[in-house]
């Protein structure tokens, strides 16, 4: 689970090591990465909304 989150975060930043990439593609299901990706993106948007609301005060 933690390795999936780390891979998704690396994908958000756009930087991933080759070794890690090989691991991700040899083990794990695509659905886990897709769901984690959507959840983390939503969390990111939420953080931005909170920050913007806070800044607009």
């Amino acid at each position: 689970m933690w390795s999936v989150v780390k891979s998704v975060l690396a994908a958000l930043l756009g930087v991933q090591s080759n070794q890690k990439r090989q691991e991700d593609f040899s083990s794990g299901k695509p659905a886990a990465y897709i769901v984690t990706g959507i959840v983390i993106t939503l969390l990111f948007v939420l953080v931005l909304i909170v920050l913007a609301t806070f800044a607009a005060r």
């Binding site: 930043l13 756009g14 930087v15 991933q16 090591s17 080759n18 800044a55």
Partner: protein, 371 residues
């Protein structure tokens, strides 16, 4: 801080052998706090870009030279380096956020038009600006005053060629003035660099902006959204004056407006109407219908020897008051007052061989507008 930036720019320009003054190349510092903020941001970001450029290209040229093939340099063959990649992703993010924070603070300030002490409605029209001091009963059109002869080249160009108007927007200094900006026809954009205001005026929308001018003076700008054939001929001139002087000006304008309102009820003579009408015609109508009423068919019909116009005064009045839908002719019912409409109709009915002898009274026009 800001003057240090400016000096650096002056030095860098003169060092490169250019005799030009930095101010000729750069944006103006302007005369409001906001415009100074924007200038400061512009220079800060400019120097951030200069430093990045020097570091990146410096490293590149150094590497090209130091590790050249003729000196036996061997290329390193590696596929990836995660920590370097993270570094070159993180550094731009930090730089961008570092620039975004002060920029957003300025932007927020620019949009905060609350607590204004004076409201001015700015309306774009093909091709002039209309200014209305809300709650003060003062409103007027601001037309370009550069003579056509200078544009055609028959006369040498004046100092403020295409940047001069018959009546500038007059504003007080040290007072927050809110602009409510809209348009009667197409999208225009009201731009005065020294005030750091560049705002689209859109039909059916009201955009807001504000200024608090620090120094008295005359500030010039232009329409900066392509709006038709005379887009280049609707400049903006702002005359900023001391508060007391402004109050005096406003009182005088109010008096004149009240006098004008009284003028609607009295009987006018042919000569005074025609005289007034000629100045209205030249300011408002001549950009399309031409100075001698010859028009510019097919878009802008001739008024001189126009049989329909000569025979039907009601038709003529209707076109001026209500405009022609689907054509370039705007409705002047709210742009010109009854005296001006009566004057310009009387003038066109008796000029350039249109010898109808008709006199249209302002009171008749006022009745037509009220209908």
């Amino acid at each position: 801080m800001q003057s240090a930036w400016r000096w650096l720019l002056v030095i860098s320009l003169s060092a490169s052998g250019s005799q030009a003054n930095a101010n000729d190349w750069n944006m103006p510092v302007g005369v409001t706090d906001i415009s100074a903020d924007i200038f400061g941001l512009h220079m800060t970001i400019f120097w951030v870009c200069v430093v990045i450029g020097l570091v990146v290209f410096g490293a590149m040229f150094y590497s090209l030279f130091r590790y050249r093939h003729s000196k036996g340099a061997k290329a390193a063959n590696f596929h990836e380096h995660t920590s370097v990649e993270v570094l070159w992703t993180a550094i731009p993010v930090l730089i961008l956020v570092g620039m975004a924070v002060p920029a957003t603070a300025t932007l927020k300030n620019m949009y905060d038009s609350s607590d204004a002490e004076l409201d001015v409605m700015i309306t774009g029209q093909q091709w002039r600006w209309r200014y209305e001091y809300l709650g003060e009963d003062v409103a007027f059109n601001s037309n370009m005053s550069t003579p056509r002869t200078q544009i055609s080249g028959a006369e040498t160009r004046g100092e403020h060629y295409l940047l001069e108007v018959d009546e500038p927007l007059v504003l007080p200094i040290n007072r927050k003035v809110r602009f409510l900006m809209t348009s009667d026809d197409v999208i225009h954009s009201w731009w005065v660099p020294d005030l750091a205001v560049k705002q689209d005026t859109i039909p059916g929308f009201i955009n807001e902006n504000w200024v608090k001018i620090n120094e008295p003076g005359i500030y010039r700008g232009q329409c900066t959204e392509l709006c038709g054939v005379n887009h280049g001929f609707m400049p903006v001139v702002v005359h900023a004056m001391e508060e007391e002087e402004f109050e005096g000006w406003l009182a005088k304008r109010k008096e004149a407006a009240a006098e004008e309102a009284m003028g609607v009820d009295r009987e006018w003579g042919m000569e005074e109407l025609a005289e007034r009408g000629e100045s209205v015609y030249q300011a408002i109508c001549s950009s399309c219908h031409q100075a001698e009423g010859q028009g510019s068919p097919p878009a802008f019909p001739a008024l001189a020897n126009n049989q329909q116009l000569i025979e039907d005064v009601d038709w003529h009045l209707d076109k001026v008051i209500n405009g022609v839908s689907g054509a370039a002719m705007p409705a002047f019912r709210s742009t010109l007052n009854p005296v001006e409409i009566a004057a310009v109709v009387t003038y066109t009915r008796n000029a350039w061989g249109n010898d109808t002898g008709d006199v249209v009274q302002p009171s008749e026009v006022a009745e037509l507008i009220a209908q």
